[in-house]
């Protein structure tokens, strides 16, 4: 029988186990610091300490998710005899040639907390950035015309956005993310509408810019349509002929609900910025040149609104992470045994006062990722205000 590890040894082993993350961070920071003057806003981030700390925290989890297979010490779903609620640093009874300890202990089903935490990063980072991205495209494609054109369109869109925002998020999740709902057409229909937006967005974006050069336009728009509709058929309707794109009904349900909650807020932000920017001189100049409304919106107003939008994008990924955690906490829309942080916290909280490590590890992981995103947003805001 080997002795259990003390905390210094546990930390040492953790440090060694995470070596791909450290290597990734060192390379990334060395490259970025060397070339920071040539990298625009991203490079300027490295002038602010807060921004760098935030970026490091975020990239820590990104690398952890990328190299999860190399980092984990045990199968995150596997159960090991004698390891139920084991304290951090407990040696395995029968390592069978594998890693000899549960570094952060075992959970109530005798699974390794550390491996589950690392795999959980993958679960979160697989959804949160993309959900935030789709929310942004929807918010932008609806917010720009609402602010720029105004009138009836604005009234209707604002009313719908306020309607969704008046819903308590948790109630909406309980109603939208449920096994009964997954079997109905509702998630598919919503996905059909929501996922169509990015395709439309890019089509209109490129068409507005290149419609004077039909050759280029046809090439770009054609490429977007082929790629976009291909992904769209797979993601929204699970009907991809080649089987590359696809989402399980569980995941689709969660994705749709999260996008649905986030998009109205983005819409309000974009609409507000558009209302502010549309009276600027460069907009008047473009109108005088005879540019169409979509060109003005997408190629004059949108680039000038990028500062606050990038900052909000970081915050929104963090908020989406919190929402995903909330879903997991209530056991909504997650596969059983899924190592995502929210449901791990939920499972761990039953024995919280006796064996807190099973809930604490994912809780602190989630907090550090969101904190990193918030600090990153703060750093970006500071740097973008400087010019």
């Amino acid at each position: 029988m080997i002795d259990p590890l003390g905390w210094p040894a546990i930390l040492g082993h953790l440090f060694l186990q995470l070596w791909p993350v450290w290597a990734g961070l060192v390379v990334l920071f060395a490259l970025s610091l060397t070339y920071k003057r040539r990298l625009g806003l991203y490079g300027k981030l490295f002038d602010s300490t807060v921004g760098m700390i935030g970026f490091a925290l975020v990239m820590f989890w990104v690398f952890a998710a990328l190299f999860a297979d190399m980092i984990i010490t045990h199968d995150p779903l596997g159960q090991f005899s004698g390891m139920r609620n084991a304290a951090p640093g407990t040696p395995l009874r029968d390592p069978a040639g594998g890693f000899e300890y549960f570094l952060l202990g075992g959970d109530a089903l005798a699974r390794d907390v550390f491996s589950r935490m690392v795999m959980g990063a993958r679960e979160v980072l697989r959804i949160a950035p993309f959900a935030a991205m789709i929310s942004f495209m929807i918010g932008i494609s609806l917010g720009l015309p609402a602010g720029y054109i105004g009138g009836k369109l604005d009234t209707v869109l604002t009313f719908i956005a306020n309607l969704v925002l008046a819903f308590p998020v948790i109630l909406l999740f309980f109603l939208l993310v449920a096994p009964e709902i997954q079997n109905t057409a509702i998630p598919r229909v919503m996905a059909g509408i929501l996922f169509l937006m990015p395709v439309l967005f890019f089509t209109v974006l490129l068409n507005a810019r290149f419609f004077t050069q039909p050759m280029k336009r046809n090439l770009y728009v054609g490429a977007v349509l082929v790629l976009g509709l291909w992904a769209y058929s797979g993601l929204a309707f699970n009907a991809d002929p080649l089987g590359v794109w696809g989402m399980s009904p569980n995941l689709l349900n969660v994705f749709v609900a999260v996008v649905f909650v986030n998009a109205p807020t983005v819409f309000r932000i974009v609409r507000g910025i558009t209302l502010d920017l549309k009276s600027r001189d460069y907009v008047a100049a473009a109108q005088t040149r005879g540019e169409g409304p979509w060109y003005v919106m997408l190629w004059e107003i949108l680039p000038n609104a990028r500062g606050p939008l990038i900052v909000d994008f970081c915050l929104r990924i963090g908020y989406t992470t919190i929402l995903l955690g909330t879903l997991g906490f209530f056991g909504l829309g997650v596969a059983p045994e899924s190592p995502d942080w929210g449901s791990t916290i939920n499972q761990g909280r039953r024995l919280l006062t006796v064996y807190p490590h099973a809930a604490l590890a994912p809780a602190l992981a989630l907090m550090s990722l969101v904190l990193g995103l918030n600090l990153l947003a703060d750093g970006l805001r500071e740097e973008s205000l400087k010019d």
Binding site: F167, P168, I170, G325, A363, L366, V370
Partner: protein, 363 residues
């Protein structure tokens, strides 16, 4: 002003109507009704029994008709059993024998909220009792959160870029990054666990009598609120909410501190404390006021999480139970309450903004 109020109230009513219909639609999907029948009549009943249960309890009519029944614009369903007794939506309001006295319509407009299938009691009773419990929780949350957030924001914003500013801003960011289910778990592990954290240490020193310092379960707060059973839930909600308010306060304060009249006051030789308290504070608190009002509906999320985590049977816990059991009428009533909270706080924040800021007039 009156027409503004009337228009706002009109929009509120339309919004509430749309939202309740959406909730009604989503809770009355066939699959959800099956689940309801199974939870009510036994989990192993056959499909035919499910259908007959739904039929007997008035769930088989078209959805729009039943939404009308719930609102009270369509007569409630009635049904005569084989043995001649009459059942119906409105029968539970009067004695079962007294069929003549049963009202034709019973719904929201008649002040009847329906029956909870989960708690087997009238919804109005359930909701009012639970709202009282949550009201108490919210009151303490606001008492703790608002002054803390304003103090942090003002202290950070009065000297932009100073070390205090850096420290307090980081604290505010960290608090917005800690959702309730994280801080609640950390608090319980640190302060309310008999095996780890602070409590065993205090017990071994003989400083506390019980096994734990704080209670990790707030159910006893229903009988009597003490610091030890209520502090953790209140702190958990307040911590997540305060960061945002503090940041808005800081932003507003830094903006005010660069104004001309502050410079003038400084040049006159007014002390720094006096400038902050007399000249800056009032103007700096306009923006946070609206944010605090808009933050209240967001606290509702925290309330659900915290009440489930600390098993405190309030409104949030009821919402959770209703949703988990597809308790249609309770869920509808809960969403009406939640939507009203959102819309009323929006209205108050708009009116308060105009009232506090004389430069804006409602046209």
């Amino acid at each position: 002003m009156v027409s503004f109020l009337l228009r706002r109230i009109g929009i509120m009513l339309v919004t509430a109507l749309c939202l309740t219909f959406i909730v009604f639609y989503l809770t009355n999907l066939p699959a959800k009704l099956d689940t309801l029948a199974k939870t009510q009549a036994g989990s192993r009943i056959s499909d035919a029994e499910v259908a007959s249960w739904l039929d007997r309890n008035g769930y088989s009519q078209p959805m729009l008709v039943r939404y009308g029944e719930w609102l009270g614009v369509v007569p409630g369903w009635t049904r005569v059993e084989a043995d001649g007794t009459q059942t119906g939506r409105c029968n539970s309001l009067t004695a079962p024998t007294d069929i003549a006295a049963t009202p034709e319509r019973c719904g929201l407009f008649q002040g009847y909220w329906g029956n909870s299938t989960r708690f087997r009691a009238p919804v109005s009773e359930v909701i009012s009792a639970r709202l009282g419990a949550t009201g108490l929780l919210m009151m303490w949350v606001l008492i703790v959160m608002v002054p803390m957030a304003l103090i942090v924001g003002v202290l950070a914003g009065m000297r932009e870029g100073s070390r205090t500013d850096r420290a307090l801003s980081t604290f505010a960011i960290a608090s917005t990054a800690t959702p309730e289910y994280v801080s609640g778990v950390v608090f319980i592990a640190l302060l309310a666990s008999s095996s780890i954290g602070v409590s065993p240490l205090l017990v071994s020193w003989g400083w506390i009598e019980g096994p734990v310092l704080f209670q990790g379960n707030a159910r006893s707060a229903l009988q009597q609120i003490t610091f030890w059973n209520f502090a953790l839930p209140v702190m958990t909600i307040a911590l997540f909410g305060m960061g945002y308010i503090a940041r808005i306060t800081r932003a507003s304060m830094t903006e005010v501190m660069t104004q001309q009249y502050i410079r003038t006051a400084r040049l006159k030789g007014v002390s720094f404390a006096n400038i902050v308290l007399r000249h800056a504070l009032r103007n700096a608190l306009i923006a946070p006021f609206t944010v605090i009002m808009l933050q209240i509906p967001w606290l509702l999320n925290g309330v659900v999480i915290v009440e489930v985590l600390f098993s405190y049977p309030g409104f949030g816990w009821t919402l959770f139970e209703a949703a988990a059991n597809n308790d249609i009428e309770l869920l509808l009533a809960a969403s009406v309450v939640a939507v009203l909270v959102v819309l009323v706080t929006q209205l108050i924040s708009d009116i308060g903004y105009v009232w506090l800021n004389p430069r804006i007039r409602i046209s």
